[in-house]
Amino acid sequence: MNTLIITALILAFLGIAYQTGSSRSRALAGTSGRRLHSRPSYHGSAIAIWTLVPLLLLLGAWALLDSYVIRTFITWYLPESLVAEGGNALRASIARVEALATGYGVVGEVQEFERTAAQAVGRFQTTAFLIVVAAATTLAALGLFYARKRITPQFRARNEVEGAVRILLLACSVVAILTTFGIVASLLTEAMRFFSFVNPLDFFFGTVWNPRFSTTGAGGGGEYGLIPLLWGTIQITIIAILTAVPIGLMAAVYLSQYAKPRVRSVVKPLIEVLAGIPTIVYGFFALVTVGPFLASFGDAIGVDIRATSALTAGIVMGVMIIPFISSLSDDIIRQVPTAMRDGSLGLGATKSETIRRVILPAALPGIVGAILLAVSRAIGETMIVVLAAGNSPVLRFNPFEPTSTITVSIVNQLTGDSDFAGPQSLVAFALGLTLFVLTLVLNVGALYIVRRFREQYD
């Protein structure tokens, strides 16, 4: 109901403001005989902005303050003893009153003071809503009259609207940036709490990972060495890249340079299906098929390969990221101008020479980008590793042995009963931060490579 009224209010003001602006400016142009600086639609939009922005700001402010005001209001009706006590009991009581006020039932007997509080809250909410709507309407009307008065033939409505659009776009990108900062900040603060339990040196350079779960709550016990996990992650990622890059790149070259359009239109979606398979299914596949196959293959050639190993996880992960590399690289390679290809062919180069020496170098920046995207997928990947790598966070340099990764350890530390008070669960944030820094470094590195080796074409 309330939402409906507010939507209607906004739409009504939008329509009135826009109409006022465009018809008024048109009329002015007619009577004064002067050319309008901006077209009527810009005058309409300018007024609409002046009308709606104050209105929306007010509604937004109310949406933020609303719950806080109501909670304070409720406490006036609660017994003093309860308020003084505070904590969970008070919170539960407030929640009960809110539930009653909205008409939902509550568990257990409803007490008298709760009933009165709920009725009062109901009345208060209605009044508050009316006041807000009235205020919003007044504000919007004021905005409308102010903006209407400013309309003259020379008024630069177009520039004003463009400015408003710019601010809107800026605000959107700021939101994206702020989100990143927010995530980093929360990771950092929690990681700092972790480092109050564990020396950062022990964490970053420790070679033993053994975070014993102590049921006695906070307190030491356990070793938090990052190195085995970091090495496991790197090892599996490298194996995945070694699997995916050659296959993906060659598939891309085939698709873009050799395949007939009809073949391409069938093969490309088929490869992309790989990207749509849930990673947990890849996990089964690794566990049930690839692992045993590799183990028996190892037997046959006399190498001891464990069924769940870095190799198994890496290969299956490589298969998973093939479509990222092949599909993106295909698009990128096809964007290399045909004039470039013709130039090379015209000099008597063969098709593969042309691809190797002209087309791929020209597409390199994009291809590196595609590979990077695939790598960050691989680094963040969890399910395949949980199932296929053997979950053994021990520092080993043999890829045929089980291992574990940063993501898997985060899952292990956070599943079950975690209270975020001891290092056992807080370590997850330190691991998350490490992962974040790792991908950041990769991105910066790739950017550098791309700048350095870019072969520009236009």
Partner: protein, 281 residues
């Protein structure tokens, strides 16, 4: 192009006569290098070239002229089979190079293109350094082994194309950073570096100033001693200056071909006459 259009017929004579006098004589003793018989080209369902038959003389310059879109580039691309790379393009008829059918299935296209070099209408330098652009062809054909050899080929090719002095301090900067006209000369240098027997030039001077044009024309004249050259041009003066034979295309048809002096002084077809005197374009 505009200058070519406005060029009065009579004013051609001093230059044209000089070039064509010995041109016609020369032409008579040249053997046929490329022979096209009834060549038709289709782009999808659309026919762009209709039964073109023409002989290209050895060690001479042949000019293709005609209004925009008449099929000059299309025919040029047939001669080194660059039309193969265009999706949906089909070529009918027969083209022989030294009596050998170049559309024969047993013929090696790569080898053909090494023998028949091409300078494209739009400059298309590779996104590599100037040096690497020129060294590219010789490298893939194994013509240069040492650094010194590469240097020599690159410098002499750039010199011939009249570009060396402008770029000698920036040989290792990207070729795409050059101006349009410089890129065009770079592409010429790149094509002659391979040492092809036949050189196809699609409007090689379209972006060049008179000085650079003169250098390229000088180069063409020089190359004529040993190579067969076909040049597409929109400049009547240029065709008259550099070529011994001229072919006039119109709407996908070869209207008239013959010794340059004859085409310019005494054309048989009304359309040729109108075109070279600038009455239509």
């Amino acid at each position: 192009m505009a200058s070519g259009m406005n060029f009065p017929h009579a004013e051609l004579t001093p230059n044209a006569e000089q070039a064509t006098d010995h041109g016609a004589a020369e032409l008579a003793q040249r053997s046929v290098r490329v022979r096209a018989s009834d060549v038709s080209v289709f782009y999808g369902a659309k026919q762009a070239l209709f039964d073109v038959s023409v002989d290209i003389p050895d060690r001479a310059v042949t000019a293709f002229i005609g209004p925009s879109g008449c099929g000059k580039s299309t025919f040029l691309r047939c001669i080194n089979r660059m039309n193969d790379t265009i999706e949906g393009a089909r070529v009918g008829g027969k083209i022989e190079l030294d009596g050998e059918d170049i559309y024969d299935p047993s013929l090696d296209v790569v080898e053909l293109r090494a023998r028949v070099g091409m300078v494209f209408q739009k400059p298309n330098p590779f996104p590599k350094s100037i040096f690497e652009n020129v060294a590219y062809g010789p490298r893939i054909h194994g013509l240069i082994r040492t650094k010194a050899e590469a240097e020599e080929v690159v410098v002499s090719s750039l010199r011939k194309a009249g570009l060396f002095n402008e770029v000698k301090d920036r040989l290792h900067e990207p070729g795409t950073g050059l101006s349009g006209g410089q890129q065009q000369r770079l592409c010429i240098a790149r094509a002659i570096a391979v040492g092809p027997e036949v050189i196809l030039m699609d409007e090689p001077c379209s972006a060049l100033d008179p000085i650079a044009t003169a250098i390229i024309e000088e180069l063409i004249d020089e190359l004529r001693e040993n190579y067969t050259i076909i040049i597409v041009t929109h400049s009547m003066q240029q065709a008259a200056r550099v070529s011994q034979k001229t072919a006039f295309f119109h709407l996908g048809n070869l209207v008239e071909e013959g010794p340059t002096d004859k085409i310019f002084t005494n054309p048989e077809d009304k359309r040729t006459q109108d075109y070279i005197t600038g009455r239509f374009g």
